[in-house]
Symmetry: C3
Subunit: 144 residues, 3 copies
């Protein structure tokens, strides 16, 4: 991971073999980033995607083990139990240019991955929600 | 809808049963947001997508009525006839992880939807365009 | 191309027949933009996508010659050999609402294309990388 910091914005380059979320999470831990948004593009060689099954209150998963372009990668940074929590969704295109996507569990960079992360000097807290089983953003009602 | 305001940025959480565009539009009306951009991720249980048919000058539509991950959701806020106008495109993944996408007409949240909206303290005007039949951003030529 | 400048942000409208990347590149040249990020949505009538083949160190390409919604378009601006370099990935939906995507080589607008570009008053340099054959962001290690 190489990066350049410009005010509240990180320009990040991940190289072959690096894990996308693990790398971003370690950067957030290091710089105590508790709130932010990020976007990325590039290419990965492995990925695990999730599709949320509301009945089971859990994710179905798909493992991809072939080179794919990161068509879109978009996520946010919040904080759960004092640690950075990354929520990220992704669209991946294989050599047929067909696109599969979903919740990103993890992906391993093949060629390069360029991420722009903008931090906020705040914390977005998350908390486990009983009815859905998900860790939801713990925001107050209507901005109050 | 719950949200948190951080300067010009709204961190928004929509819950099960809430309509994505209707909710965002009501927030824009309430806070008089006439220009902005937004990105989101999450999951929906219903959606209506559009594909613009230039010959017919109208959208072909697809109704989706199954749980889908919001792979990407990206839009802008402008103003048409004094009211907030949201232009938004979306990619949705069903349980096969296959992705369908297009112009978002409306979608209903299933589990959660997290949107980050950045407002500009300006107005981006829109106006109906004769040749295309679309409501286009009414910008001047070449930034003049 | 019409646009409106709001601080460091360009709100851009491209019209039928205009090339997406060529137009953005010419704007970057004109205003000496050497670093930035952009997002877009709209519709195109032609596009050429790339999928990076690491073995061949080159892109496989797909030409699309039918009207498609731009489901997502995300890229960054950097500088290579003194000129603006745009790296952009895209997801496109055809009339079946199926999505194809990848590295965007170029696309021609059909109806309209709305791009929001945020510039940074810096330069993100790029340099050809031997092992991958790609032009990578030339960032220092670990932000030092």
């Amino acid at each position: 991971m190489k990066y350049f910091v410009l005010g509240a914005t990180y320009i990040i380059r991940l190289d072959a073999g690096e894990k996308v979320l693990e790398s971003l999470r370690s950067l957030c831990e290091q710089d105590e980033i508790g709130a932010g948004v990020f976007h990325g593009l590039g290419a990965v060689g492995e990925a695990e995607l999730g599709w949320f099954d509301a009945g089971a209150k859990d994710y179905q998963t798909l493992r991809i083990e072939e080179p794919c372009e990161i068509v879109s990668l978009h996520g946010n940074v919040s904080r759960l139990d004092g640690k950075p929590f990354l929520h990220c969704h992704v669209a991946l295109a294989d050599r047929t240019f067909g696109v599969r996507g979903g919740h990103l569990r993890e992906a391993v960079v093949s060629a390069t991955c360029e991420v722009v992360l903008t931090r906020y000097f705040e914390e977005f807290p998350r908390r486990k929600d009983g009815p859905t089983g998900l860790y939801l953003l713990d925001l107050k009602q209507d901005g109050d």
